[in-house]
């Protein structure tokens, strides 16, 4: 026990006396959550549009005003001739052009019918669809307002409700994903580097020639980084709740406990990496480059896993952050309890035990 305590203390000396590294391991998660949280969004806001309106009248002005008033659109310019449309799209500034028919209002009043054409830049098909959907909805609203008394003979009403995230705020899905990614990367890198550094500096040789047991050595490497990771986790949660306005609808205690499990799993993964490599550079490559892409792509927060080819879906199961991402979403956004997440938690516990067992087994009791 005394061995364990002094080892943990020694590890903290290493961390605290290397301010550069300390700033990186504390600052990096914060910077990542901020940049990813604000930059990563699939909401369409302030899309620039162009208006082609040959006859300006009351109705068209009303529609244009409504488009401009919404937070989705910003009118970049008015175009006078259809010939200028092409140039406007080619300049790359606008995502959509709204084209009104000649004599829009008089057509509407006399022929009971007038046309609007929505032209979108479909070089990004998802955004093009979204932008035209938003515009259609706004124009439809304007139409109902123009004829408040008009009654169709019969009508099917579609009432859509968006559960858990009615405002469709992107941060609700990205924040849990980034939490999973940042915690996994930082925790894995810290432990793997801490052990490999002892090998590189030669102090491992002294530790091996001492009565210290491998299990004590491994555990005392994990504990300091567990504390730092928990601190990082707390910072991320605070930033998410106060800055990104992501709610914690479920139990905070439960969220804390499963996060603890996930962090231990990540630290154990770091141990595993350190047991298969002897140089800090390789350990860094594996834990950063090797982990970044799988967590980014296969966690499910950027691309839905259900849409991936089967082999990738299978591979995604061994990515710990996939399970944690699903847990965090369930607790924070959906407000679910232990009943909904026990399976995922069990998977993480299993991974932890596996990585620790393998690291212990692969731990070299001699210099190879």
């Amino acid at each position: 026990m005394k061995q364990f305590i002094i080892f943990v203390k020694k590890e903290f000396y290493h961390i605290l006396r290397d301010p550069k590294t300390l700033i990186i391991i504390i600052g990096l998660p914060i910077i990542q959550i901020l940049t990813f949280g604000f930059a990563l969004t699939n909401e369409v806001k302030n899309s620039k549009i162009a208006i082609l309106n040959p006859t300006i009248d009351e109705t068209t002005t009303k529609i244009v005003d409504r488009l401009e008033a919404s937070r989705f659109f910003e009118i970049e310019k008015s175009i006078n001739s259809p010939n200028d449309l092409d140039a406007a799209f080619k300049s790359g500034k606008i995502r959509m052009a709204v084209v009104f028919q000649n004599n829009f209002q008089s057509n509407l009043l006399h022929n009971k019918k007038a046309d609007i054409q929505l032209i979108t830049d479909a070089s990004d098909p998802n955004i093009a669809t979204m932008v035209s959907n938003y515009a259609t909805a706004i124009i439809n609203d304007a139409q109902t307002e123009l004829n408040p008394n008009y009654q169709m003979p019969y009508q099917i009403n579609i009432a859509t409700r968006l559960f858990y995230n009615p405002q469709q705020i992107g941060a609700y899905s990205f924040v849990p994903g980034i939490m999973a990614m940042v915690l996994l990367l930082i925790s894995t890198m810290m432990t793997s580097l801490a052990i490999v550094r002892e090998k590189e500096l030669g102090s491992m040789e002294l530790l091996l020639a001492s009565p210290m047991k491998p299990l004590v050595l491994i555990l005392s490497k994990v504990v300091p980084y567990l504390i730092i990771s928990l601190f990082n986790w707390l910072m991320i949660v605070i930033l998410s709740v106060w800055l990104m306005e992501v709610p914690i609808n479920g139990s905070f205690l439960l969220l804390f406990l499963v996060s603890l499990v996930f962090i231990v799993a990540s630290l154990a993964l770091g141990l595993f990496i350190s047991s298969i490599t002897d140089s800090q550079q390789v350990a860094m490559m594996i834990s950063l480059m090797g982990m970044l892409l799988p967590t980014l792509i296969l966690s499910g927060f950027m691309f839905p896993i259900e849409n991936m080819p089967l082999p990738l879906q299978v591979v995604s199961n061994i990515v710990p952050s996939k399970w944690y991402y699903s847990i965090v979403k369930d607790i924070m956004i959906k407000g679910l309890g232990i009943n909904a997440i026990w399976k995922e938690t069990l998977v993480l516990v299993g991974m932890t035990l596996f990585f620790i067992a393998v690291s212990l087994k692969k731990f070299k009791i001699r210099i190879s």
């Binding site: 061995q3 002094i6 500096l201 091996l208 020639a209």
Partner: protein, 306 residues
């Protein structure tokens, strides 16, 4: 000297290869170290000293043969051995960002002891570095680093001290101090096996083993090794040593000729050769020839030649 016939280290027919047999590090090495002995492994860089010490310290597995320390097998009983050895690797391996005191305290605790418990063992050494005990190990001079490393290896009162080139890169004064300390530790009953590339340090050991290219050349006391030199050794000095050496090496009377600093050490196959003969052959006014007592290094060179 508290030497007895009890064997602290027994090495039998140890061989070790690296790179799947391409590099032979140790070739069938056998020797014993008596309890309480100060035993030196002497040889140039790459001779196999580190490999041998690591095998004894249970850090490497030999390919064949067996090694025992205090009657424990270095492979099977590695845990017992790790309780009773103090090991100091050739490279400074303490934590550079920890202070002297923290390093010492750390290693004391790792070996389940405290600084106070065995302070008497390290006192002579520790008082020299104690004024700097709050200085980080990475900021110490080479000599102080080695003293600290020795303290850390000693703090748990090991029965055998294994030191791998402890004085490499250390200034002559610190080297002398270091060897004085080893002498005192020996009086406390600690067996010491130490490797060194410095031949002058070999004289300070009870017995030494010459090791070269993984082979043991000889094992004996320094005095016996010098006595067994068996030839007359001449020291030759002159203005142009290099041309003198080339000339001597071409002579039919020459057995060996090596450069030793300012002089040449010369051995003739002709035991009756006189300084006049040598000067006559060299035909150089600046040459001076004198008869000298061989040093350990002379003996090593002569063993290497055979």
């Amino acid at each position: 000297m508290v030497m007895s016939d009890f064997k602290a280290i027994e090495v039998k027919n140890i061989s070790k290869n690296y790179d799947k047999g391409k590099i032979v590090a140790l070739d069938n090495i056998s020797f014993d170290v008596k309890k309480g002995e100060l035993f030196g492994l002497v040889g140039p860089d790459g001779a196999g000293k580190t490999t041998l010490l690591r095998i004894i310290a249970t850090l490497l597995l030999q390919d064949s043969g067996e090694a025992k320390l205090d009657n424990f097998d270095c492979v099977a009983d590695f845990k017992a051995i790790r309780q009773r050895i103090g090991y100091m690797p050739g490279r400074f391996s303490l934590y550079q960002d920890l202070t002297i005191e923290e390093n010492l305290n750390f290693f004391a605790t790792i070996f389940n002891t405290t600084i106070e418990e065995n302070y008497h063992l390290i006192k002579d050494i520790y008082v020299q570095i104690e004024p700097f005990k709050h200085r980080r190990a990475g900021k110490l001079s080479g000599g102080m680093k080695q003293k600290l490393a020795l303290c850390c290896a000693l703090i748990h009162k090991p029965s055998v001290l294994i030191l791998d080139e402890p004085t490499t890169g250390v200034d002559p004064v610190s080297r002398k101090e270091f060897w004085d300390m080893l002498g005192r530790l020996q009086h406390d009953g600690i067996t010491i096996i130490v490797s060194t590339p410095y031949m002058d340090e070999a004289n300070l050991c009870d017995r030494i083993a010459f090791i070269h290219h993984g082979k043991l050349l000889t094992i004996n006391t320094p005095q016996n090794i010098i006595d067994s030199f068996g030839n007359v050794l001449w020291s030759i000095s002159g203005d142009n040593l290099f041309s003198l050496m080339t000339k001597l090496r071409a002579w039919q009377n020459t057995k060996s000729c090596f450069s030793f600093g300012e002089n040449l050490h010369f051995v003739s196959i002709n035991a009756q050769i006189t300084p006049q003969d040598i000067m006559h052959y060299l035909k150089d006014d600046s040459v001076q020839v004198s008869k000298i007592v061989p040093s350990i290094e002379d003996c090593f060179m002569s063993f290497m030649q055979n």
